[in-house]
Amino acid sequence: MNRLATRAVFVLFLACAVSVPAARAQSLLFDYVGFDYEDPNLNPAMFGAVGDGYRGLGEVGSLFGPLTSDQTNFQYTYYFDGLTATARTTIGPFIIIDYTNTGTLTIYEDSRSTGTAADYGTNPPSALAPATFVDGTAILVGNLTNFQYIFNTSTNTGSFEADFEAVGGTQIGNFPLNQRKGWTFAGTSGNSVTVPTGYAHQVDGQTFLNPPTLNRTGTWGGIKARYR
C-alpha cells in the first residue's frame, strides 16, 4: 500500500511537474506607447495613493508571434485595468507603489476603416477614453500580478513592471499551453508636453513571453519501470 501510494505520487509528480524551464531567451510579444491615469483617484495631489486605481491606455505599435496582426487595416490599442494601489513607500525622492491584486492588460483590434479611431481626449475617464481604446475585438487578455510602479519625484520619471499571463482573447489559441507566461515593463515620464491634460505620465513599454516549458516524452511503461 505504501509502495503503491509512493508510486502514485511519483507518477502524478512526473505527469505534472517534469516541465523544466528552458534556457532559451525570452521573446518580445508586443510593444506599447501611451499614457496613464488614476481612476478612482482618491487623492489627486498624490500619485499612487493607497486605494487609487491605476489605468493605462495607448497604441500597440508592434506585435510579434504567436500574435498575428495587420497594422495596415487595423488599429491595435491596449488598456490596463483592475489595478488598485495597496502600498506606497517613500525612499528619498522615490516612491514605490505596489498593486497586490490581479489586473489585466488587454489588446484590442479595431478596423481602421469602420472602427472608431483611438482618441485620448482629456481628463479620463471621459466619453473618449477608455471607450475609443476598448472597442473592437479583444485579441489578447493577460493577467498582471506583482505590479510595481517606481517613480522619482525629483526627475519626474519612473518605471513599472509586472508578471504577465495570457488568459483570454480571440488569439489565445495561438499560445501553446506551456508558453503563456511572461512579464511586462515600461518607462514613464511626466516631463513631456505631449501628455494630454488629465493624464499622469507617458508610458513606453514592452511585454515579453517566457520560453516554453519543456516536457520530457515518455511512456507509462518507462515511468513504471523507473520505480520498480
Partner: protein, 228 residues
C-alpha cells in the same frame, strides 16, 4: 504690422492649446542597447562613456511619412559622448547623470544593423551609422535610474535633445526659425533574459516632439500691450 503681430500671436496661441487625438512619439524604437566600459547597472564611475545603438520601429508626427518597416530600408540611431558624473546611490535606487551627448538618426538603404555582442566591435556601431544622416542633435540632462529591488530588473532613462542638423531638420522646426525641443525617454532592463552579452541595458524608448512648447497664461490686454 501691429495687426499682423497680434494675428500671429492669436494663431500661435490657438494652435498651442489644441490637443491632438493621438499624441504619439516622433520616433519609437525597439530595441536599443546601452554599453559603458567598466559600468554595472548600479555603478558608473565619473568619466564613464555611455553609448547607445538602436533600431527605429515607428515614426510619428512630422516624420510620419517615413516607413520604418519597409524591408528595403532601415532606420537606426547612435548616441555617443554621454559622460558619467558618477552614480549616486539612494539605496536601493541608483541614479546616474550624464553630461554632453550627441544623437544621430540614419536612414540606410542597405539594411545591415546588428547588435553583435561586446561592443564596440566590427558591426557596432558601424552598422548603425551608415546611410544618410536624417537628424542629429545635442543631448542634455541625460540620466539613468536603476535599483536592486525589481523582480525583472527594470528602471528608466531620459534626456533632452536639441536638434542641430540632418537632412530632415526642417521638419522639426518650431515655425519661428528654431527647432522644437525633444525628449529621449523610456524604460530600461538589465535582465539577463533579454540582454545581449557585453551590453549594460536594453532600452524600450522613444523621442517625443515637444511642440508646441508650453505657454504662459495671459490676457488679451497683455498680448495687445506687447505689440503697442
Amino acid at each position: 504690422m501691429k495687426a499682423a503681430g497680434i494675428l500671429l500671436s492669436v494663431v500661435l496661441l490657438a494652435g498651442a492649446v489644441v490637443s491632438p487625438a493621438l499624441s504619439g512619439p516622433i520616433v519609437d524604437w525597439d530595441p536599443a542597447y546601452f554599453w559603458e566600459p567598466g559600468a554595472t547597472p548600479i555603478s558608473s564611475l565619473p568619466g564613464g562613456q555611455l553609448k547607445i545603438v538602436g533600431t527605429v520601429s515607428a515614426f510619428g508626427g512630422p516624420l510620419t511619412f517615413l516607413n520604418a518597416n519597409m524591408p528595403a530600408k532601415e532606420y537606426t540611431f547612435y548616441v555617443y559622448g554621454l559622460t558619467s558624473t558618477g552614480t549616486v546611490p539612494i539605496v536601493p535606487f541608483y541614479v546616474t547623470a550624464y553630461t554632453g551627448g550627441t544623437i544621430e538618426i540614419y536612414e540606410d538603404s542597405t539594411p545591415d544593423a546588428v547588435f553583435d555582442p561586446f561592443p564596440p566591435n566590427a558591426n557596432v556601431p558601424s552598422t548603425f551609422i551608415d546611410g544618410t544622416l536624417i537628424l542629429s542633435g545635442n543631448m542634455s540632462n541625460f540620466n539613468t535610474q536603476t535599483n536592486t529591488i525589481t523582480l525583472h530588473q527594470t528602471g528608466n532613462a531620459e534626456g533632452d535633445i536639441a536638434w542641430t542638423g540632418g537632412s530632415l531638420i526642417a521638419l522639426v522646426g518650431n515655425g519661428v526659425g528654431g527647432t522644437c525641443p525633444a525628449i529621449f525617454t523610456g524604460g530600461l532592463t538589465w535582465s539577463p533574459d533579454v540582454l545581449i552579452p557585453g551590453y549594460l541595458f536594453r532600452h524600450d524608448g522613444k523621442i517625443d516632439h515637444e511642440c508646441p512648447t508650453p505657454n504662459t497664461p495671459s490676457t488679451w490686454g497683455r498680448i495687445k500691450t506687447l505689440y503697442r
